[in-house]
Symmetry: D2
Subunit: 286 residues, 4 copies
């Protein structure tokens, strides 16, 4: 795992001629060594989406001056854009309940260097995963949630999230529905894993319902959380085959492997600034 | 493709001790050379399901006497069972509208020997696929359907189906909903292909809705037709990956390949007597 | 299937700063409406590869003047490049022996508009597929090949290929090895399908050897033909799962579906100018 | 995860009429409640393979008397057979080097109840994974291996394996080749994970060679270890798609996920007595 010192620019813009030339020219004039560039045009919505990553070694514009320097180009083309640098790692909080497979997977990948982020805290509404957190040396906070104490619990969560300057919240099989207020505070910054192939089996007990219906494949879906339950922009999905030999218990077991893979991919893409959102969909620049 | 002369017994029974011993003993006493045997137990529903195929060469019981000979065993264990022989090929009718990819695939596989059935006729509500039928030398009948003429059209269809002694009807992207009366006449003998991963996108225009929703995988589902639209027992499903680069047109194109594979597998399994139904689900003995 | 009138530029160049800016600027100055652009950088080999497709509607440079106009940019960056237009469809010849599943699939996709090319002729070393060619109204030529007559047969093939101005040769399970002379005449313009997951099972009878070895997955590989048998640049691969229940006959049957899918994808990508070659590898701009 | 008290009988026999009847009758007479039964016939080799699992609750034959009671049936049909009970969990040793992803996955699945075995020890030729072993409370032994000390190191390993009565050895990315003597001591009881789609890329550095060759899919293979390197019976294989965007580092990362899945499946099937071997192949009764 080589350490990089790069900047990544994400652009969402009306599609107009000269756009790529203007961006490329800007980067060239500042001596950017482009490492990766990817773009997408949506003809129907007349949208231009771009991700470009370059080496900051040799780039003659200090990051803190980028906004000012780039603003002329950005305004000319009415771009929405954001710049991220590898030097400033995103800060991620993980929310968890009792099932620990997604948490274990995320922590392992973080430790192995696959997820380039900081994880200042884990919040559980149960204490079951405390020992796992301890092994990976991540502070673990238990905040129980009941229907009556939900607002109070969320207030405690907000305090912790603020205190640790959290950029991204990952719901690793966190079995509580967040309040609309919570969701609004972290737009496009909460990733959930739903254990079905959305939009099939929205809501509770998807494996039970998949078993009932007799499907031949089960799935998992990672998505950004919005106010509408299980309706947010889908980041990644995958499936695995089942047969009549798989009882509910087997489906749940197979599903665990899906869930952790599908969630970890989504988290990595988010951290690596590979995701652009539009029209309740995601573009993944992989 | 070696020609076989075999019998296949499908059994659906309450699960009781001694069942396998009784069946195995019966077949052994009649000198059956068992080629394939597969069984499944559903512990929750206390069901025993079995498929056994044997060589009729050397079997000392004429097929026409099987029922009488087997009845003692069957009654003792309250079995539901059916016997099929490879000598009596199922007779299949294909219904089609304008899209011809599923039809072309089925006819190709039939000609190549992969589908061991007879196809006495194709019924289209449009004439578009007549030339394809002619190439494969299958009689093609055009029966237009409108809302007003539906009953009349189905009457014509019934006449043809009866006349040709049809066992199985395959809806190869046939864009008409069959009447309840039609469905009741052919219970568990009508196979449809739906161009989504059921139960996602039940009903009309599933690709359009998949595109809208921003899913990362599209699917197709073959199922037996029941009175409830898209709710019948699922036989087979498969998916393919899509990305933001896939416009609706690309999704439809990728979907075509899925549809024909998923439908052809279901048809083959039905023809080879590999499907057992229970609790609105299928067991596929592959 | 909407008709497009586009140009596609493929670029293979040493990676140097300002490259993208120069290309984007060139296209912008000539008023190109870019539809798709994709690029890839190989850091290790310091290579820059690009595919850009634009609408010729409104482009102010006639195609026949492109080379002269673009030469300054191209020379400055030492590019190798090629320009293709959708108006000039590639001309494809299909070579076939007895197995017809790949041929049938290619012809079906051509007819349905999925493969935007002309197919002026099919050459078989057996006559088995003549009727299929006739159905799709493609001239079919039988040129038998024996060890003794190979040079003579190839001479006849060359004459036909020249006469029909063929750009691309697809070996659709053509069971003859082409001579080095043949291969040299059509560099990177012959696509073969090999019925294994290369580099496993190079050479003859791959399914037999896969069955012998007891693999759990079988594969197919489409690749450009080079002088070294089965060693050319891989375009596409796919696999399907098998089990102990699959006898050799079943493997061959499952393999057929793989072969045709994997070959058709490769042919489509070639026709749509999505393939760039370097270091005996392919970049697929999909 | 419900606790079961079952017996599993694995049978490998010449295929003869009356075999199933004899086995089923034997089990019925002793009042076995059969939970799962699966069989396979290899017509070419005239082999019959069977796995049958029943509840010991109500079975009237004590396990220790099974051999004597069953011997008449077994001898009559020249069966090779083995009986396993869920009460006696297999004892598994894990060998590891520096890479810990497979080890971490196995230990997690063991702890979560997915792998029903005992793990009395882990042997590493490096100490890197000691902390992971400690977290899961499995004794960890470091036995360094050099070319000169290999025999001595294996002697130490044998002592530990004997002392702990080990049934199964899992090489979880253990980067040492076992001596023929070692392999012979544990026939069909050593499972390895090879990081390629065998038989492609036998031997060292398969990912490097896959990257060089430009394959579009990478794979992993779990197999029983035999004297011939990477030539033992394949238990499981899987693949994942790669593209030109994947550099060697990405391939290695994607491969890790494959390796652990493919190894864990093999280990689970072995532990659950689902694997029968013949003709250097495996039958997986899943």
């Amino acid at each position: 795992m080589t350490m990089k010192n790069t900047a990544t620019l994400l652009i969402n813009s009306p599609d107009r001629k000269g756009l790529v030339a203007a961006i490329a020219d800007f980067l060239y004039r500042h001596n950017a060594n482009i490492l990766h560039a990817d773009q997408h045009q949506d003809a129907e919505l007349n949208l231009f989406l771009m991700r470009v990553e370059w080496d900051l070694q040799g780039f003659d514009l200090p990051v803190e001056q980028f906004e000012q320097a780039f603003s002329a180009v950005a305004e000319r083309f009415q771009m929405r854009w954001q710049l991220k640098t590898s030097a400033k790692k995103p800060r991620m909080a993980i929310f968890v309940s009792r099932y620990d497979h997604c948490l274990a997977d995320l922590l392992y990948r973080h430790q192995s260097g696959e997820l380039q982020c900081d994880i200042p805290l884990i919040i559980g509404n149960h204490a079951d995963t405390a020992r796992l957190a301890e092994f990976y040396q991540i502070p673990f906070h238990v905040i129980p949630v009941t229907r009556e104490t939900k607002a109070e619990a969320e207030a405690k969560q907000f305090a912790l999230l603020d205190q640790h300057d959290i950029d991204l919240i990952v719901l690793a099989r966190y079995m509580q529905v967040l309040s609309p207020d919570f969701v609004m505070r972290y737009p496009q910054r909460i990733i959930n894993i739903h254990h079905s192939f959305l939009p099939a089996f929205v809501g509770a007990k998807p494996y039970h319902r998949a078993f009932e219906r007799g499907v031949k494949l089960i799935g998992a879906t990672s998505h950004y959380v919005t106010e509408d339950l299980d309706e947010g922009p889908i980041i990644e999905q995958d499936i695995t085959r089942i047969s009549h030999r798989d009882q509910l218990e087997d489906i749940i077991k197979k599903g665990r492997d899906l869930e952790k893979m599908v969630l970890s991919r989504a988290v990595r893409w988010h951290i690596e600034n590979r995701i652009l959102l539009y029209a309740n969909k995601t573009v993944i620049f992989d």
